[in-house]
Every structure is written in structure tokens, then in C-alpha cells.
Symmetry: C2
Subunit: 584 residues, 2 copies
DNA sequence: TAATGGGTGCACT
DNA sequence: AAGTGCACCCATT
């Protein structure tokens, strides 16, 4: 806890830097307003970015004795207090934020873990055009249930954000409904649209001559769910069609299929084609044994001749599982739920801009029934663990589709947000109605390999060279974060989701899934020192470098995504289920 | 006063329809906020458009017992109160608003008068393309100090609004500066950008096969001033250059010149080319005699052979005046002021949209020094009145650039907003610090000719046929509204503003200025009954119809603006001046 | 393009 | 987490 407190302090300082001013307004008027639409940044009297120069621009005439020196600006209104000439902006607010690095296939775990860090997506193809970035990111983030759109772009930068949710305009409650028009001051609450703070920033580095992609604000004000009816997804599919990316189309057909059948969505069924796919995400395989750390060596069949037959074996076994699961899941198709937890970036303090966007503050909500107390954890699993998974078909599966309330489960990790100082002494709270426990925060920073990518040449071939930093024995540990709430309630016996029959998994397999499971019955994730050193499953980045350098040849001219099959598992957290709502 | 009260009630009802919900929040927290950035719509318990269905979406979990019936929407967050599936919108809120009709050259007076009405711009050229509308409107509204941009458009609609002011981000004052971060609720004030409610709506009528242009929300949250450095203006000039509209370019060069020298801007130096230019706006000519009503017949030289020589005479005389004035004004160039009144749509009640935009409420501001007590009124003046104006060079000129406080001047019109019920009994108030007197409201509705335009053919020739409605003897009376505050302080002896020497006013004069001065020493504008019946100067719309029908031949293929010279005068309101600030 | 109101992606500046 | 001009949308009546 000591180290985490230090980290907490640091993170809190960085967290504060998100805000451009401090606001200490304690007006209880907000109690009557929709808190979902009220921005509530943390109060920080010592915030570096506090705007002491904020212009006080009341409508009342103020005694303004100073003469305007600016010749070109002599029209300041008499009856308005002098308007500010320059807006005070804050720059580089993210420069001091802690950073983490993740491969694109690593992303789902990084999204879970590094909720308040900058997540650098490090192996990124060399995009020929800015317009190629969005489809590439969509391949990754659709699987996370994140529908991205471009917020802003120019020649050297693209900012992505979550697609705006369906408009929700809300109004402030009136305090005096019968007040006269002349005497009552009224106000509208800000719109809640565009309030999600999640951002992906792609900037072109002239020095490296490549695009850097960073997840800037890894938190959401809404639930994450893949929506195959999204316009963005339709456009994305059109793009895949025009670029003849049949492989990706097939994989997203599967995703669509599973989504429409309310099956759990595997975030890794579609590889990101970044050139470094050393991690495999959850595939809803139950992993009963904990403290299993390891990874398979990454091999690429097309480039390395030491092609192993384990790929086809994997495919066959998974196909069998899928067929079983298809029948399994069909029984649960009609069961629906309207309840889902919400991933929030912080507990009492909300991340947000000083603009119109607002973020829900997850305050305590006593009116909420504590229906679901779930805890789940997806683990990545290599092919050598498949046998273990196969034995567990009859066990209930938990999709970690969203953040869950873990406080009542003694065998779970309390994923509270480390940025919330109030939560540090509430880890063992049994009050499951406290939505502050929505926030995951597991300190397993050391688990991720921090890699620095440098370009070995300046052409577009996309040869990458990885420089391993700090630690060579670290294993990637993965927590998967999916977004299918139905399984939590309805699919207690659901194991594998069916795969579409028409998908040919034997074609062009480039990646071997690696595995980085980790223990889930400890509050702190294994440090690099308690590495299990399972040599056969340890990811060796030196090996992957070979793969990366040879697999990015054709990345630049066309969208081409490698076909492979990823396996993973879901950790059974012995969760208690509350089927109150489900049973009506 | 009786009639105006009835009108007031009607206008107030229409005014209320602007708002989509009623807000009766009386929280005095807003006293500490910048009132300029707070939307304060009027409270109207009986508002038709009051949004009783506004979704109450507080962050606290509410006991939500109803099951979600929608199968496809089963992801409602557990810890967020059920988000509304559909936003409640209001439609056709302007359908019941009172309408007024104005020719484009009439606009400045209509903008003054009909602050809460829909102002239909009735003679509008037949635009071949949607993109032609904006430059045409810019020709009109740049002169009003209004920098328009497109807010939204599609194939059949273009919505214009004021260009966003330079961002002015302001923050709420903190109520408890020393509160701790954990206990204090903070909020940011909404941005003041895009808060101006002014809108121009251009919709294509399939029935009429023409574009209808309506000023929807004739009020502003900011001062109006022509800004030659505006990006929109630069683009506008580029458009004029690409379309070889040399005449308009020249006229805007003059406008630029005058603006940069802080000279009064004549809103009519650039004709609108709408096809019906029967009105001439202020040209800063002092009009000593009141109760002069009349107008010259509108003629078009190029199409009508009865070309009169009065045009060149007018030009020469104005040139002489300008030369005199140029020397005059140069003495005052260095005198600047930071004080300017603000045109607001209403006094206590502000017009605004229901979105994020906010509008200043002009509340009483006792801290403001009552420095300037000016009253000015621009009158349109025909050529036959030029002789009168020439005799008055030595008299002080008042540019009606903005709303002024007229309360201390017994010989002035109290242009208070009729929508402000509190102001009805304050006309003789001597408290000039009351900014409620900023608002002009002169009831001269009957002065404007309501014309119904019908298209005589469906081609693009743009032949217009005017149907005079109701009253044929009405004269157009004009109050000009400019936006140069300097003259109020510095140019007590300023008469005419200089014109650039390089402008050739003898070329291609198409329009003859008409005149519609009116008495300024009455509190109410001359009704149609006290028409002076000066037959030589009475605008005859039947005559203008001939002109209109023949002058719109080339409107559709290229921007071509007729060159003419407009004369006007400024009414000396015997205003008392307070030179406190000027003299330091 | 029935008329009228609004959301929002996203590139320009 | 640039702000905003603008267009492609959609919703309601
Ligand atoms: Zn989001
Ligand atoms: Zn405006």
C-alpha cells in the first residue's frame, strides 16, 4: 500500500493537471441538477493550472477606470465588463501524466489497467495517409465496444473520441416553479453529449516519421458495447469492402454474429495487424488455476519456416468448443437485461474538460438496488493451456464485459480507483451500492513490457526495432475488459461462444497466441520477481522483433489483416449472482 | 401606450416561445457568476413550449422499477439512472412568432425594431446555388456589424449565425476558496462561445421555387462592430474577387477604410442587389428638420432610359463633404474609448437558444459610471434633402452605432424595449446607469410596407412581382443602427465621413437613393395617418416593381452588385454629452 | 425541395 | 481533450 500511495499522489497530481481551473463552488443547487451533466473536477488549491487570470465578466457595470491601450480594440462594451482579449489556454496537460505502453493486441488489458495513464500503442503500421488510421483503430476498438469517431484532425494529428451517444438533453429542476418571469433567474444545464473523456491521439512524429498513437483519457462516461448497427461500423465495413480486406470482413462478420446473438465478444478475434501480436486476449475459457504465468513464443508461419502444427490443432479444438457453445448459448438468447455497470474514470472526482462536456461523477446512489455483485477477470491463455480449459466446459463463464461491484466478494480484487482518496480505506466495504467500487485499479504496472520503438529506416517498409527497456523477464498479464452484460446474468453455464461456420481459420495464420495469465486471488499482481519463468510460454520480445520486421511489408498500401486464432480464458471469480431483476 | 401594451403582450408571448423549457431556478449563485454567460430565459408558467417531458436524469440511482421493453437496448447502466432513449425536442417554435417583412436595404431599421419578430427578407435574388446565399447576406450584414457564418446547412436550408466571438472562457467564482478537494463541489460555467441567439434562416421553398430568408432571432449577446480583420470578411473579399465583383469590392474598401479610421459606417453604402432597393440608410447627414417624410422614386439607369443627372450631383456634393470630414476626423483618430453600449434583445429577459448558448441579461449595474448619455438617430435621406444637410456641417453628428442611454435627454426617443415590463414606467428616468435603456423599441410597425413576393415564372430570371398589402400610403421609416462608439465621444463636430478617393461613384449607378426620414422629436414615430405626403419623395412600390423585374436578370450567374450612392442623414438629437472619460 | 428544429462528425483555421 | 464552421444527417408535426 505504501508504494501505491506514492503512486496515488503522483497520479492525483497528474489528474489535477487535466483541469484548467479550480472551482470550489459548493452550491447545493447542483444537488437538484442532474449530476450526470455537471462537471465536477477535483478541488485542488495548489493546482498548477489554476487559472488565476480568469476574467471576471459579469453583466453588471463595473467601475472600469483603465483606458484601453489597444488602438484596434476600442469597442469594449460599456455595459459589459471588459471581455478578455486572449483566452487562457492550457497546453501539454498530459505531459506529466504517467505513461504505459501497450501493443494493440495488448490493449484491452491496458485499457483496464491504465485508466488514468497515457497508453501508448507502440507497434503501429506506417500509415500512408491520415485516413488509414481510423480504420486501423476501429479494428481494435470496435472489439472493445468503443465506437470511435474523429473529433478533430489536421495533417499531423488525429484526435479520436467515442461516438456521441444518442442525444440526452436534460434540464435543471426548477427551484421555484411559480416564480414570476421578471424575478427568476433561470439556467439550462449543459448538454451531456460528447461528455465521454476517452480520447485517442494520433500524432505524426516528424523525427520518427511515423504516427504515434496514444490513448489519452482511458475512461468512459457510458457503457461499452459493440453496436453492429452503428453508422461508423457500417462505414467501416464499406471501407473493408473497398479495400478488399476479406479477412477482416470475415472476422467482423463473426463479431457481428456474436453480437446479434448476444454472445460474448472476443476482443482478439480480429488481429490488429500492427506487426507485433504477442498477446492473446480472452476467449472465454475458464481458467481454474491461478498463478499461471507464461507465454508461447510468437511465430509467423509465412516468414518463419519452423511452422508448427499447433496452429491447426488449436483451430480444430476451438472449432469443437464453439460448436458446443453455440448450442449452449442459444438457450440464453432470449434472456435480456437492462442492467449494466458503468466504467468510470474516477470515483468522486470526474475527469472532464472545462468546456461543455461533462462527466458523471459516481456518487453514492442509495436508491440503486444492489442487484449484481459480479467479479470476473479474463486471462490470456496460450495453446498449451487449452487442455486445461477444455476440462472446464461445464463451469460457469464470466465475461468481464464491464466493471462490476466486487465489494461483497471476499475472493475478488477490489478494483477501486487509486485516484480516489476516499476509497483507500473502503476496500473491504460490504456496501455494494457504493458505486465507487466501479473503478478498477490493479497495480500491475511492472507486468507490462515497456518497449521503445525506433524506426530502423525512413522508408515506408515499416521495419521496427524494439528496444527492450528495464526488464526482460516481465510477462504480460492481461485483464480483459469486454462489454456484454447479458452473460453476467444469463449465461452462468456459458463457456464458449460459437464461431460462424463459414470462417476458415486455417487460412494464413500468422500469429500464435501467447499466454499471460496471472493470479487473481491476490490483491496485487505478481511483481517481476515472482515470475514463474515458464520458459515455454514466456514472451520473448527479441523473437517477436524478427516477426515484426518481416510482417509489415505490405502494411502501407492496403489494409491487410492477418488471420489467426486467439485463445483466452475467463477467470471464475466465484461470483455471487443476484438474479432479482432477471427473475422479475 | 395602449396599443403598445397589447403589442407587448403579444410579443412577450412569442418571446416565450423561443424557450423550450421554463427554468425558475432562483439560485443566487448566479450572482457570483458571469451573468454574460448565463442564459436567463423568461419564466413563463404558461409557455406552450415548456418542456414538461424533460428527462430527469440525476446521477443518483433512482428506484427504477419499470422493465425495459426494448430488446435491443439492454445495456442501461446500473449505476446511472436510465438515460432517456429519445430526446425531447421542440419543433416549429417560430411558427407562431409575429412576422415582419423587410427589404434587404430596409434591414437595419427592421433589425432595430423587430427584435423579437421573424424578419422576412422579401426581395431575394434567385440563387442558383446554396453557396450564393452567404455572400449575399454578408453584403447586408457586414454593414450591420454582424459577421455571419453558417451554423448548419443542407440542400434546402442554411442557418446562419453570428461568427463565434473570440473565446472567452470564464469561470465561476468560488464560494469557498479554502474548501478541501474532497468536500467541495465544483462546476465550470458554460462557455460563452456561440451564445449569440441571432439566426438567419434560409430555406428553399419548393412551392415558390425560391429561397426564403428570415431573421429568426434578432438579438445579440455581444456588441456589433464591423471587423475588417475577420476571417469571414477576408474570405468574403476573396469571393468578390473571384467573381469579379469590382463594384462591391470598392464599396467594401470604403467600408474597410472607414472602419480602420474609426469612422462611422454607413450601412447602405453597399446595396444588397436584392432587386428592390427603395430605401437608403443613414449616411451621417445631419437632419435638423424633423417630420420630413418622403422618398424619391427608385430608378434604374441601366434599364430605364430616364437617367437623371441627380446622381452625379449627389456624388459631387458628397465627395466635397467627405473631404471636409476627412480632415475633421483625422483630428480625432487617436482618441479611443473602451466604452460601448451593448445591443440586447430584451432588458430583463434574454433571448437565447436552449442549447449551451447563453445570453447576457441586462440587469442593473450600479457600479457603472453614467458617462455617456447619447441619443442619436440616423435617417434615410433622399437627394432632395442634401441641400439641407449641407447647411449643417458645423453641427455635431451622432452616429447611431449602438444603443444609447437616452433617459436624460428630454428631446429624445426613449428606445426602451417594449418587452420589458419593468421599463414601461421608466421612460423619464434620469438614472442613466440603468442599462435597461439600452434597448430600442419603437413601435412603428405600420411604417414598413408588408410585401408579398410571388414568382411570376419558374425560371431563374428572377422576375419578382410585388403585391402590396394593406396600405399603399405607408412610408418606410428607418432608424439606422451602426456600431462605432468613438464618434459618440470624439466626433462631436463630425459630419460626414470621408470616402476613399479612389472610388469612382460615377460608374454604373443603378439605384437612386430614396428617403424616408421621420420626426425624431416625438416619442412615437409618425403613424401612416400623419404622413406628410411629400409626393416627390414618396416611395412608390409600384414603380419599384418595374425596376425589380428588370434588374434581376443577371443575378443568378454571378455576383454583381450595383453601384450607387446612398445618402442619409443623422438626426441631431441635441444630446447631452458627458466627456468625463474623454477629458480624463 | 412540406416546414421547422436539432445532433454531430470532422477538417479548417 | 485546440474551437468552430459547415454539412450530412435525423426528428417532429
Ligand atoms: Zn467512451
Ligand atoms: Zn450576434
Amino acid at each position: 500500500m505504501n508504494g501505491s500511495n506514492i503512486q496515488l499522489e503522483q497520479d492525483f497530481q497528474d489528474f489535477k493537471s487535466l483541469f484548467k481551473q479550480e472551482n470550489t463552488n459548493n452550491d447545493n443547487r447542483f444537488d437538484l441538477l442532474d449530476l450526470n451533466s455537471i462537471m465536477t473536477p477535483p478541488i485542488s488549491p495548489s493546482t498548477k493550472n489554476s487559472n488565476n487570470n480568469s476574467n471576471n465578466n459579469s453583466n453588471s457595470n463595473s467601475v472600469n477606470g483603465n483606458k484601453e491601450a489597444n488602438v484596434n480594440d476600442n469597442t469594449t462594451a460599456k455595459n459589459i465588463v471588459q471581455l478578455p482579449k486572449k483566452k487562457k489556454k492550457t497546453y501539454n496537460t498530459n505531459k506529466n501524466k504517467p505513461k504505459s505502453y501497450s501493443t494493440p493486441n495488448n490493449l484491452s488489458s491496458a485499457l483496464l489497467k491504465d485508466q488514468n495513464k497515457l497508453i501508448h500503442l507502440d507497434p503501429v503500421p506506417n500509415f500512408n495517409d491520415k485516413s488509414e488510421i481510423k480504420p486501423w483503430l476501429q479494428k481494435i476498438f470496435f472489439l472493445q465496444g468503443i465506437d470511435i469517431v474523429i473529433e478533430r484532425s489536421d495533417s499531423g494529428k488525429v484526435i479520436f473520441k467515442c461516438k456521441s451517444q444518442t442525444p440526452k438533453r436534460r434540464y435543471a429542476k426548477s427551484l421555484n416553479h411559480n416564480a414570476t418571469a421578471a424575478t427568476t433567474t433561470t439556467a439550462t444545464t449543459p448538454l451531456s453529449s460528447s461528455s465521454c473523456p476517452f480520447r485517442i491521439r494520433a500524432t505524426f512524429s516528424l523525427k520518427l516519421k511515423k504516427w504515434n498513437i496514444v490513448v489519452v483519457n482511458n475512461s468512459h462516461s457510458h457503457e461499452l458495447k459493440f453496436n453492429p448497427n452503428s453508422d461508423e461500423y457500417k462505414k467501416f465495413k464499406d471501407y473493408l469492402k473497398t479495400t478488399n480486406d476479406v479477412e477482416t470482413l470475415k472476422r467482423f462478420e463473426e463479431l457481428e454474429y456474436r453480437s446479434k446473438l448476444n454472445l460474448p465478444i472476443n476482443p482478439s478475434i480480429i488481429p490488429c495487424d500492427c506487426g507485433l501480436t504477442s498477446e492473446v486476449q480472452s476467449f472465454n475459457i475458464i481458467l481454474p488455476t491461478s498463478k499461471i504465468c507464461g507465454a508461447t513464443k510468437v511465430q509467423k508461419i509465412n516468414h518463419n519456416n519452423n511452422s508448427n502444427n499447433s496452429n491447426s490443432n488449436l483451430i480444430d479444438s476451438i472449432k469443437n468448443k464453439n460448436k458446443k457453445l453455440k448450442n449452449f448459448n442459444k438457450q440464453n438468447l432470449l434472456k435480456k437485461t437492462t442492467n449494466q455497470n458503468l466504467l468510470l474514470s474516477s470515483s468522486n472526482t470526474s475527469v472532464g474538460t472545462s468546456g461543455n462536456s461533462t462527466l458523471t461523477s459516481t456518487s453514492t446512489s442509495p436508491a440503486s438496488p444492489p442487484s449484481y455483485k459480479d467479479s470476473s477477470l479474463s486471462l490470456s491463455l496460450g495453446s498449451n493451456f487449452l487442455d486445461i480449459s477444455n476440462d472446464l466446459f461445464s463451469q460457469p463463464i464470466l465475461t468481464p464485459d464491464f466493471m462490476q461491484d466486487l465489494t461483497n466478494n471476499t475472493n475478488t480484487i477490489n478494483y477501486q480507483n487509486a485516484f480516489d482518496p476516499q476509497m483507500n480505506n473502503k476496500q473491504n466495504s460490504t456496501n455494494s451500492t457504493d458505486v465507487k467500487t466501479d473503478l478498477f485499479e490493479i497495480d500491475f504496472t511492472d507486468i507490462f513490457n515497456k518497449t521503445n520503438m525506433t524506426s530502423t529506416n525512413n522508408n515506408n517498409r515499416g521495419d521496427f526495432k524494439y528496444i527492450k527497456s528495464n526488464n526482460q523477464n516481465k510477462n504480460d498479464n492481461i485483464i480483459n475488459y469486454l462489454n456484454d452484460p447479458n452473460l453476467i446474468e444469463n449465461s452462468s453455464a456459458l463457456l464458449f461462444s460459437p464461431l460462424p461456420d463459414e470462417i476458415d481459420y486455417t487460412s494464413n495464420n500468422l500469429f500464435l497466441p501467447s499466454v499471460t495469465p496471472f493470479s487473481s486471488d491476490t490483491k496485487r499482481i505478481p511483481s517481476p520477481n515472482n515470475n514463474n519463468n515458464n520458459s515455454t510460454t514466456t514472451t520473448n520480445l527479441a523473437d517477436t522483433n524478427i516477426f515484426v520486421g518481416s510482417s509489415t511489408d505490405d502494411l502501407n498500401n492496403q489494409w491487410h489483416f492477418d488471420s489467426n486464432l486467439n485463445l483466452a480464458s475467463i477467470d471464475n471469480e466465484q461470483t455471487e449472482y443476484d438474479f432479482t431483476d432477471f427473475l422479475k
